[in-house]
Symmetry: C2
Subunit: 211 residues, 2 copies
């Protein structure tokens, strides 16, 4: 692929993001993407045959970006890294654009049972999130900061809870919901169950008595 | 409404269930429902003007049934009732039909941001589930079986985790996922954190030493 083609594809991915958050997946057409792209629908079709082909490429790009983003937290101590990762899933009061985009992503996910390529793309996204959570938990256990739990099981529980909270928040306009569930996870599950007593000061930096 | 009309409406709701699990929400047409109904599309339109009007009535009926179902558990002791309620969200290996139906329900939920009536119907469903969870937790605290947690917060965490697990299971064909998360919730969160030490025998019936 020439660099001009690569530039076009990048611009198309950008345009798809804008079209998705404006129209949602179900209602969005190739013409809507072309309008955001500022170029003809035929140029769009030169790069991607169908809306679904374009959207699979789009999800793969989003997942790559998510993977790079969470890898950048790798140097942090386990408790801080766990909080930072959960925080990435929280929407703030000014995040309406991000929320609209995530509604469209959830619409796309509901098409996964009917389409193997969507299924593979979302499965990869889930696994990256869950494997990262499990690695953080395993790291915390190794350092003696976390109790000896099953890292994969803990990762599934945390990923499900934060994912379920987000689904409610974005579909039912319940703006505080993910924050509330994140707080419950951190204060009850992480601090109340996961951290060994010596580390229950909220910092996870090994200093005692900071309460 | 005459009893003949009521019978027709009940048959239409049944037909909608079958059409939804066969076609999903996005692809399903009024004709698909009429085909399952075994009567004309015009009779369908006599009862419901649009597909969305029919689907809102359909969701309301489903939520009523769910409410009646979980009310029937009211006599149980808190720990048993909590397990029974979480179990209702688990799909077994023979539940492909129910899974297909819940994919369609999730598709419908993704339309809630664009439609207030859908939003209200799903919000009611969420609240019934969460309020029931909170009442069970409050009951357990009152009886001295559960630690003194915030019942609403615990309910949000449990509801989010089981809902998030289900979303992954049904969209990505991950058949064991909800069972795994339910087990993690029961064994780690309920038994490890919620139950006071005297009741950690898994039965919640107040007899000690059954381990």
């Amino acid at each position: 692929m020439g660099s001009e083609d690569a530039d076009s594809r990048e611009a198309i991915i950008e345009a798809t993001y804008d079209a998705l958050r404006k129209h949602g997946y179900t209602a969005m057409t190739m013409q809507d993407i072309a309008d955001e792209f500022g170029k003809s629908k035929s140029l769009l079709h030169y790069h991607y045959d169908t809306k679904d082909e374009l959207l699979v490429a789009f999800i793969e790009q989003i997942v790559d970006e998510f993977e790079a983003e969470i890898e950048s937290d790798e140097g942090m101590p386990p408790t801080e890294r766990l909080r930072t990762l959960l925080d990435r899933f929280v929407f703030g009061p000014d995040d309406e654009e991000r929320e609209a985009f995530h509604v469209a992503l959830l619409e796309l996910r509901t098409q996964a049972p009917y389409d193997e390529e969507y299924r593979d793309a979302f499965d990869r996204a889930d696994r990256i999130f869950r494997d990262t959570l499990a690695r953080i938990v395993a790291d915390g256990i190794e350092r003696g900061e976390f109790r000896d739990v099953d890292p994969d099981r803990t990762a599934r529980l945390l990923a499900s809870a934060i994912g379920g909270a987000r689904t409610r928040q974005i579909t039912l306009d319940d703006a505080a919901y993910t924050v509330e569930v994140r707080d419950a996870l951190v204060e009850e599950y992480v601090e109340g169950l996961l951290l060994v007593d010596d580390h229950r000061d909220g910092g996870g930096d090994g200093e005692d008595g900071k309460r």
